[in-house]
Amino acid sequence: MASTFLGLTISYTGLQAAQASINTTAHNVSNVGTTGYSRQKVSLEADKALNTGSNYGTIGSGVVVTGVEQIRDSYYDVKFRNNETNDGEYEVKENYMTQLEDYLNEFKLDGFTVEYENFYKSIGELKKTPTEESVQNSVINNALSLTQYFNTLSTNLTNVQKDSNEEIKNQVGEINTISQNIASLNKQINYIEANKGSANDLRDQRNNLLDQLSKIVNIDTTETDMGNGLKSCVVKINGQTLVDTYDYNTLTTTARTEKVNASDADGLYNVSWSNGLEFNEYSTSLNGSLKGLIDIRDGNNGSVETVTTDASGNKSLELVNDSNQNTAYKGVPHYISKLNEFIDTFTSAVNEILTSGKTVKGEAGIPLFTVKYDKTAISALSVTVNTALIKDPSKIATTTTTDPSQGVGYCDLVDKLIALKSDKRYEGGTGTYFLESIVAEAGIDSKKATSFLKNYTNIRSTINNQRLSVMGVDQDEEGMDILKFQQAYNLSSKMMSVMNEIYNKLINETGL
């Protein structure tokens, strides 16, 4: 036989359950706009039935709140983070490739293709009037304008490299902060969960941090049970441990003392673990925005640009296959070394022709292009026009002969310069084609980055919606819950007052 006052107790559990549910609904509604918040739900259970010892057996004893749980599917978390990693990589690439493309946008700019064209136009005029000072002057000035354009372009591209380098440092800093925070959250979560219950909101915070981390670098997360309600959470980035439950590692950046590519900006950062372990920046499995930045900063199509010195001490730039020091991506160093290759081929051919000839006055020809500073290899950055020619344009060689009988109009050397334009000495193509191919390469890679980003962003929003479908707070649902729980509360209250009336009747009026 159950207690006479059981009904009151049952109603009380109903009130408690409704109270807990309506509070959780309030919590959900308040966090409707919180990033990474997973909706919570009160799980209720009918309380243990009491054996009444009567012929109807047991009687229910109300409801019990077993816990407040979050609704979240970790399957979507993994999917989301994997995509986030790709998204992060291409977001960075799209951003930087757009910058590179802006500098190489020959479609809109009057850039190097126009400069090159202008140089040859003035050579064409020189052919007609080789002794005309104004024409010689225009050749020199066009050459100067060409070299200055390449100087500026090379500097601009190097600035892009510097920017990406700074961003690598920032990203490394962010990884470190996240790593520290996750370790600290691990501790707090275990503290709470050891005393029963679920650290819902702290878990949301940790998941949020992991989402952020996955954008920077590819991560692996495992959570294993250690007993007593304690969990061990291990986070690995590109296979190396970043966080191991309460312990965390950090990355550090150190400025390089020696350049990898000859035209690199000074002091690019190497990334390594603070504990001295190696962090392989050029690992093929690395992913995320960090990978994107490294590709942009160091990608030289699988080669490294080195300086070689020949027997007579002349320096030149050369590409050497080396996949340990860069990636196969076509980043800033690739475009700079393409420009360098063009300048090297172009200027050495022009100089070779000019120095083999004579001026109208019979003096030996001097090179048109030189380097700005002694003892440097000729490159897009260092190339300039011989100051002797700027001062006196008539020093430009136009003929191969000193024989005055040929006359001042004889300019076979200029013919050779003109023939150079259609000479396929730039990797099997003409200079114009080579320059155009640089533009094409940048255009195609930029297009690739843009369309990859678009795809990954689309996938991102799809997965995100799938996640939201599970963990998102729905206003209509909560609105309905408010009503539902309010009514449940009201009903339990009503139940109490009914019970009260019953007891009143029983105690105060029955048998009196």
């Binding site: 293709t113 009988s405 040929q406 006359g407 843009t450 919606n465 707070v473 209509d476």
Partner: protein, 491 residues
């Protein structure tokens, strides 16, 4: 699937953003009228655009710079050659006139003058320039064809190596026993001793110049330098006859190599005859040797300049199309024969001869009636001299006539030379015009292709823009509806 408000908002935002991006692309196209604004939007269009631009710029360079330049040069050449042709045709008329008509004394003097003037203007036509560059002097565009000032000309000193073929060996008439007026007052000469003049033909080679120097005499070489004949005699007598058959004499005043019989026969069958001589004291209007001959300018003895006359010529070529060039210049020796000047000089000299004889005749006539010569001996002497002069006049007149006659054919051949040079220029101009037409066609094609490649059709883009705007508006309306209401509005 459970749909939450956030999902709907996300979807709406994504859709709005997609439509906005499409609007932005179309907006860009509409305001630039270009299909793309950066290569990554369509790398193929971008690269094709660059190729077409570069081709177009090259065609434009040909069409707007090189062809007009070539055309100006050729037109100036043509104009000058036409003038030259008129001058030679004038000379030709004088020759036909001279060969048929008889002129009185005063007319002859005028003709001699005119001939010399025509010769001067003939060569000065070779000094025309285009934008400060002489058009007939090959690569030596800074050097005029003739000496422009007497001061410059007189200072110059050259060693000239002139080549001849056996065709260049001509003949001339020389006279012996010409009447010497001084013999009239010479008492030792009797009337019987005044000999009647006679003429003789002598073979000669005319050099490029008269009044050459007798210094540094060199042998005449032939058969490509394999054999030679030394020159030991120099003379200034226009009527010089070689003393021996093997002799070759240099007449420095007329600028001729006078050949003995054997020497003539040897050279007649020889090839590649060459003679090197010094020439100083040029006159204003003389052609500069470097434009015609291999020579050494020794004006500054410390820095002599040697000029080589190559058979390849000095062709100035302009690029007028892809892989097509045109020769713009005509070289002086193609139109302005150096022989014309010598021929005209000879004509003038032969006229002058007749004029001189007539002067002598007039003088004798007046002497005859003078008191001082009234004695019989003097009268007899005057009479025989008058007879001799008469004969001499006949000879001179005949020679003059012959000279004019041969002048007709010579002038014809010079005219022919000029006409052929001129028609060559004409051909090149018409080739230029053809190329220009083709290039204009090409330019239009390239412009068309370029426009097709990179320009948008404004009608198409306007329609697309309107429809994109419609879609964008629709997505905004839909979004506003989604966000506006929730269950709470109905509770």
């Amino acid at each position: 699937m459970r749909i939450t408000n956030a999902m709907m908002i996300n979807n709406s935002l994504t859709n709005i953003a997609t439509n906005k991006a499409q609007m932005s692309i179309l907006d860009n196209q509409l305001s630039t009228l270009k299909k793309i604004s950066r290569p990554s939007e369509d790398p193929i269009i971008a690269i094709r655009a660059l190729r077409l631009r570069s081709s177009l710029s090259e065609v434009t360079q040909y069409l707007e710079k090189n062809i007009p330049d070539a055309n100006s040069w050729l037109s100036i050449t043509q104009g000058s050659l036409k003038e030259t042709n008129d001058i030679v045709s004038n000379l030709y008329q004088y020759c036909t006139q001279g060969s048929t008509d008889t002129f009185d004394t005063s007319a002859r003097a005028t003709i001699a003058d005119s001939l010399t003037n025509l010769k001067d203007s003939f060569y000065s036509q070779g000094n025309v320039d285009y934008a400060g560059r002489f058009v007939f002097t090959g690569f030596k565009t800074d050097s005029s064809l003739t000496f422009m000032t007497s001061e410059e000309a007189s200072k110059k000193s050259y060693t000239i190596t002139q080549s001849f073929s056996n065709q260049d060996i001509t003949s001339k008439t020389v006279y012996t026993n010409l009447v010497d007026m001084t013999k009239l007052d010479d008492a030792t000469v009797s009337a019987d001793e005044i000999l009647s003049p006679s003429s003789q033909t002598v073979n000669k080679i005319s050099l490029g110049y008269s009044n050459v120097s007798a210094n540094n005499l060199q042998a005449v070489t032939y058969n490509n330098g394999a054999s030679s004949i030394a020159i030991n005699v120099t003379t200034t007598d226009p009527n010089y006859i070689p003393k021996t058959d093997d002799e070759v004499a240099l007449n420095t005043s007329t600028g001729e190599l006078v050949l003995g019989k054997n020497a003539y026969n040897t050279l007649k069958s020889a090839t590649d005859i060459s003679f090197t001589y010094d020439k100083t004291s040029f006159a204003k209007g003389d052609v500069k040797p470097e434009h015609y001959f291999t020579c050494v300018d020794k004006t500054d003895p410390t820095a002599s300049i040697s000029y080589e006359k190559s058979s390849a010529g000095q062709k100035i070529e302009y690029a007028i199309n892809f892989a097509q060039t045109i020769q713009v210049n005509t070289e002086a020796d193609e139109a302005f024969s150096i022989k014309l000047g010598r021929d005209v000089d000879e004509l003038a000299t032969s006229i002058q001869n007749v004029i001189d004889i007539e002067a002598k005749q007039a003088k004798l006539k007046s002497m005859k009636s003078q008191q001082a010569y009234s004695d019989d001996a003097s009268q007899a002497k005057i009479q025989s001299m008058t007879d001799a002069l008469g004969k001499e006049w006949d000879l001179a007149d005949e020679s003059m006539q012959k000279m004019f006659e041969s002048g007709i054919t010579k002038m014809q051949s010079y005219q022919q030379q000029i006409t052929s040079a001129n028609s060559d220029v004409g051909n090149r101009i018409s080739r230029l015009t053809l190329t220009k037409g083709r290039l204009q066609e090409q330019q239009t094609n390239f412009k068309d292709l370029k426009s097709k490649n990179e320009d948008v059709e404004i009608e198409e883009i306007s329609v697309n823009y309107s429809s994109a705007q419609l879609v964008y508006n629709a997505s905004l309306t839909a979004a506003s509806k989604v966000v506006k209401q929730s269950l709470l509005d109905f509770l």
